[in-house]
């Protein structure tokens, strides 16, 4: 194999010759070939050990008892119930976070107000707090011995160790995803288009639906995908508030743990494979959406030829 530095032999044809200047340029500014190969090799090794091998192991273990065993494991009543609960939690948490995330990003990116930085910090709390602690906080607030425990039991409302608690915990841990994704997109776009819309006679609502929302649609979808993945995969916070009641308050990740603890390895991995499959789908969707988000930010930059131009 010819080294990238050497000029391409004529027999390789015009295709290779076209690449030569670029290869030479890379050589001029880059590392020597052995260094490049070593670093790339290390990176591939690391990714294989940490990501690819475990992923393969999940699917291998899942089918340890054959296809029939796999189907039996994921169609067991408790598993189906866990799937339903996970989907329900997502169906509530994701739309909630979409509404909250868009509203927060809109406020942060398009307006200046006191306490803006505080709001940004607030949104980030779920990122910095351990999910287990988040779950414990809900127990502390709404549990039988909690601050609101008496009030809740008087009115016969069961929050923790029940579906509402799981939904609350899921909302809490997925809180920042949509807002965090939208803020940079909206900041890059600035407020001129909204001002133009209003000066043309549109009210705030029409401006939002006709101008703001179409401009952020890729960023929003991207945020939704990440938010959804986290909502389905959340373990820590949900584990604390769930109570692990089989068939009632078990989500998919919790169910995996239960099966594993009962030495039903192939069952645990079969259910885990559902989550792994979701992760793969998320990755593909993410890859696809990232292109749209980049285009959105790039378009914003194109529309403003002189960033930070004179405003007097």
């Amino acid at each position: 194999m010819p080294s990238p530095i050497s000029p391409a032999p004529a027999k390789n044809g015009p295709e290779v010759r076209q690449q030569t200047p670029r290869a030479r340029m890379r050589d001029a500014v880059g590392e020597p070939p052995w260094m490049r190969r070593l670093l790339i090799g290390l990176a591939i090794l690391l990714i294989s050990v940490i990501l690819l091998v475990p992923l393969a192991a999940v699917f291998h273990q899942a089918f340890a008892k054959g296809v029939d065993g796999y189907i039996a494991a994921i169609t067991a009543p408790d598993t189906l119930s866990a799937i339903r609960l996970t989907l329900l939690a997502c169906a509530i948490a994701v739309p909630f976070n979409v509404v909250f995330g868009v509203a927060a990003a809109w406020a942060i990116a398009k307006f200046d107000f006191k306490g803006k930085n505080f709001l940004i910090t607030l949104i980030d709390i779920p990122f910095s707090v351990s999910p287990v602690i988040a779950g414990l906080v809900f127990i502390l607030l709404f549990g039988a011995q909690g601050y609101f425990g008496e009030f809740l039991s008087e009115h016969d409302i069961q929050l923790v160790f029940a579906v509402p608690g799981i939904v609350l915990a899921t909302i809490f841990v997925t809180f920042p995803f949509v807002a965090r994704e939208l803020i940079p997109v909206m900041q890059a776009q600035g407020t001129e288009e909204e001002e133009a819309s209003i000066s043309l006679g549109a009210d705030g609502w029409k401006t939002f639906w006709r101008i703001t929302l179409p401009n952020i649609k890729w960023g929003l979808l991207y945020g939704v995908v990440l938010c959804n993945a986290r909502a389905m995969g959340e373990f820590g916070a949900v584990s604390v508030v769930s109570g692990h009641i089989r068939g009632e308050t078990n989500t998919l990740p919790l169910h995996v743990e239960i099966l594993y603890n009962e030495y039903d390895f192939s069952g645990a991995f079969a259910v885990a494979s559902l989550l792994a499959f979701l992760a793969v789908i998320t990755l593909i969707a993410k890859k696809f959406l990232e292109r749209g988000v980049r285009a959105e930010i790039k378009a914003a930059e194109n529309m403003v030829p002189e960033q930070g131009a004179l405003h007097s």
Partner: protein, 364 residues
């Protein structure tokens, strides 16, 4: 639509963007707000549009106070510095936007919208671009679409924020003339912001010169150029030479043939400023009278048909900038280091009145 701005003030934190601005804009005029960056011109434009609220003061439109009106209600067309076209809508939909978002009761039907948008696109000579997207257009084309979009809602007042700021020199020149013709055809009262004095002079009926949140002078382009009210206006409108010093009584009284001698250039007791534009010097080989200043040529640069010269006058640090036609300079047959004589043909004098710090100007 005539506009009256009364004592408008606006601060951003400690920064006084507008510090008591009074201005009247007669109906149908094309007015330029001219000033350096930070002078408050864009802020004033945005307050006129209702995009920004004044801290105090009033804006009267045909005698009616509109200070509290919402942007939507002002019937103002605003053209943004970076055009702010809706990137996800076609050019046609961009122009149609203002008509489509009208409340149902006043919204025109589809056929009308179609014919109106087509008409506007023809007006800006871009009817062949209707189904493109903003990103596919050049800067000059985007600018014209932004204008067509603002005109679609039949504004009573057209406001343009640095309309040519982001364009290259050639397109800028074309669009300037085009905007002037368009204004003459449509007759909408228009205000545009610029920091380019040439642009303001060339396009507008009336120039408003702002500095540090206050209006320095309002007048036709000729008025502000020929009779600047303050040293700032004179300095802002073009390259100039400043001579500070004591001006003798008889010279001020005569008002002509001001002597800018070594003595006057050094003495600052009376706070008088005398300005001479670079092209207002006569350059000669000998002194014909006492009005001539001896000077040494330090620098010469030919640009097209003119030669830019810099002279050193004894006792003065700043070089004196002089512009001569190339043929005149050639006729002198001199080079760097030559000892020549300068005579100012036209001097603009400002004497500072100590009591209220106002400037009294006089030309000669």
């Amino acid at each position: 639509m005539s506009i009256k701005i009364e004592n408008v003030r606006k601060s951003f934190g400690n920064f006084h963007a507008l510090d008591g601005v009074n201005l009247e804009i007669p109906s149908g005029e094309l007015v330029a707000l001219l000033g350096p960056s930070g002078s408050g011109k864009t802020t004033l434009l945005r307050i006129l549009a209702g995009l920004e609220a004044a801290d105090s003061g009033r804006i009267l439109v045909e005698g009616r106070d509109t200070t509290e009106d919402h942007v939507r209600e002002r019937q103002v067309g605003f053209v943004f510095q970076h055009y702010a076209l809706f990137r996800h809508l076609t050019i046609f939909e961009n122009v149609a936007y203002g008509l489509r978002v009208k409340p149902r009761a006043t919204r025109p039907d589809k056929d009308y919208i179609h014919s109106r948008v087509t008409e506007l696109l023809k007006l800006v000579q871009l009817d062949w671009l209707g189904d493109r997207y903003p990103a596919q257009l050049s800067g000059g084309q985007r600018q014209r679409i932004a204008l067509a979009r603002a005109l679609a809602v039949e504004p009573r007042l057209l406001l343009l924020d640095e309309p040519f700021g982001a364009l290259d020199a050639k397109v800028r020149l074309e669009l300037r003339h085009w905007l002037r013709r368009l204004h003459d055809d449509l007759g909408i009262t228009s205000v545009f912001v610029t920091h380019d004095q040439e642009e303001a002079m060339e396009v507008s009926d009336r120039v408003v010169i702002l500095n540090a949140g206050q209006i320095e002078q309002v007048g036709t382009p000729e008025e502000v150029y020929d009779a600047p009210a303050t040293p700032f206006v004179h300095e802002f409108l073009g390259l100039t030479n400043l001579f500070t010093g004591h001006l003798r009584q008889e010279v001020l009284a005569a008002g002509r043939n001001v002597k800018v001698t070594e003595e006057t250039a050094l003495d600052d007791k009376q706070g008088a400023h005398a300005y001479v534009r670079p092209y207002d010097f006569e350059v000669s080989l000998q002194a014909d009278g006492e009005d001539y200043i001896p000077a040494e040529l330090r620098f010469a640069q030919t640009i097209g048909n003119i030669v830019r010269l810099q002279f050193i006058i004894p006792g003065r640090e700043e070089p004196v900038r002089v512009e001569l036609e190339k043929t005149k300079f050639r006729a002198l047959r001199v080079g760097i280091g030559a000892k020549l004589f300068l005579k100012p043909r036209h001097v603009q004098i400002f004497v500072k009145d100590r009591k209220d710090a106002a400037w009294a100007g006089t030309g000669s």
